[in-house]
Amino acid sequence: MSDTLAGNKTTAGPTDGLAVLEQTRSAAETYGIPLAVLLEITHRCPLQCPYCSNPVELDRGSTELTTDEWTKVLSELAELGVLQIHFSGGEPTARKDIVELVQHATDVGLYSNLITSAVLLTKDKLSALADAGLSHVQISFQGNEPLVADRVAGLKDAHRKKLEVAKWTRELDMPLTVNAVMHRQNLHQLPDIIQMAVDLDADRLEVANVQYYGWALKNRAALMPTVAQIEETSRIVEEAQVRLKGTLAIDYVVPDYYALRPKKCMGGWGRQFFNISPAGKVLPCHAAESITGLEFESVRSNHSIAWIWQNSEAFNRYRGTGWMPEPCKSCEFREVDYGGCRCQAFALTGDAGNTDPACALSPRHEEIFKQAERESAGSQNRFLYRNFAGGTLETDERQEKPQDKSHGA
């Protein structure tokens, strides 16, 4: 979900007659406060997606910031010049105070987006969120029909519920983004997912290939697409971007395993993005806590958010290009991709300071690519579902006889 904020996507639609602010900023403003901040207000979620972007070590409900603490954070962010808030999770509507938080964001002048699984929303709740000033709803879909979608989500009746909430979103005249996370076990549904987004009257569709760290890395063998699947995916997306111009904007996040160059993850560490975890940690990336040995400051500390952004050790460790080893250090692309993803470098090489193995120049690239390719061709389709207990392996019954027949398509 939060991959929406990563820099590695191609955007469809008309060319920008109006400049996007990031692109016109002067060098001096490079580390200015980000325009948008992702708030992961809880890790609680009724879904159990095996590629969840939350860390494997989830923050428990008891550690979450209180309503007062979040409203204080929102006021501070507005004061600093942040313009947009993405309320995410976990499932943000699992917080009983979600309407109050959106209302406070509106009161202090912030533009609110909700990134949701939708399954907990009633029409009244959604309407109350709209009245509180919510401006955009982004709903995750796991497929285009319940058999695949509910199995991936690990929740019965989830898909039907999502369709219902998507419809209410448009009835309430809020713009809708459909977020589809793609992997080997649902890529065959992509053309139908695109049509589903059109039928739901969505404004945008994000086709985001799974990025493999945290839960997704644990599930890589069950999720990794084949090279042929990816080529077909890119073809389908490109065709749809042209065909649906003016109707549906399609953002496409490519899987970096099969790229030769790494993604400009987060637009570069500590350059234009931070998020705040349920327990109040200020992070350069939503997966950053997977990097052991880095200390992240909390909004509960004595430091201001501005201080943490500008001065904390964790934000400065991989900021810019000074930290880079070879082959990044002398690479002509070092300010294009900033060495790729630190979390992926850590997960795959044990050192976040190494070149992201997604880069063809990494000494580990060949080995990792070959392993992914082997996994993609394998028959290990069983998921390890995301939960607070460190994950639960999918049962044979579920895998062979997809659940939820009572709600067939």
Partner: protein, 102 residues
């Protein structure tokens, strides 16, 4: 529900939809348009035009007003204003108030 895929002409009465907000960013000292997942930085002329988009004024009236203010050829202004508004409309950041036919 707001109509999309609008075609901007002199008779259009455009306005920003509820989810598109024109705001002065005090921190960066620029006008911005806030939209889903986007922050746009319109130039001075675009800001002036957008302030006129109240759903009541027609594009023709806006063009008249701007042509008079800048003592510029009406035709050139009309071309620029319509192109700018159409670009915003294509992105879904502009809506139109239609005469009720009910």
């Amino acid at each position: 529900m707001a109509s999309r895929n609008i075609s901007v002409s002199e008779t259009s009465r455009p306005k920003l939809p509820r989810h598109t907000r024109l705001k002065f960013d005090e921190t960066r000292q620029v006008w911005v348009i806030l939209a889903p997942e986007r922050v746009l930085a319109p130039d001075e002329i675009a800001v002036e035009v957008l302030h006129l988009c109240d759903g009541v004024r027609s594009v023709a009236e806006m063009v008249d007003q701007l042509a008079e203010k800048y003592a510029a050829p009406r035709e050139a202004i009309a071309t620029d204003v319509i192109a700018m508004l159409q670009d915003l409309a294509d992105k879904g950041f502009l809506t139109e108030v239609r005469e009720s036919t009910a």
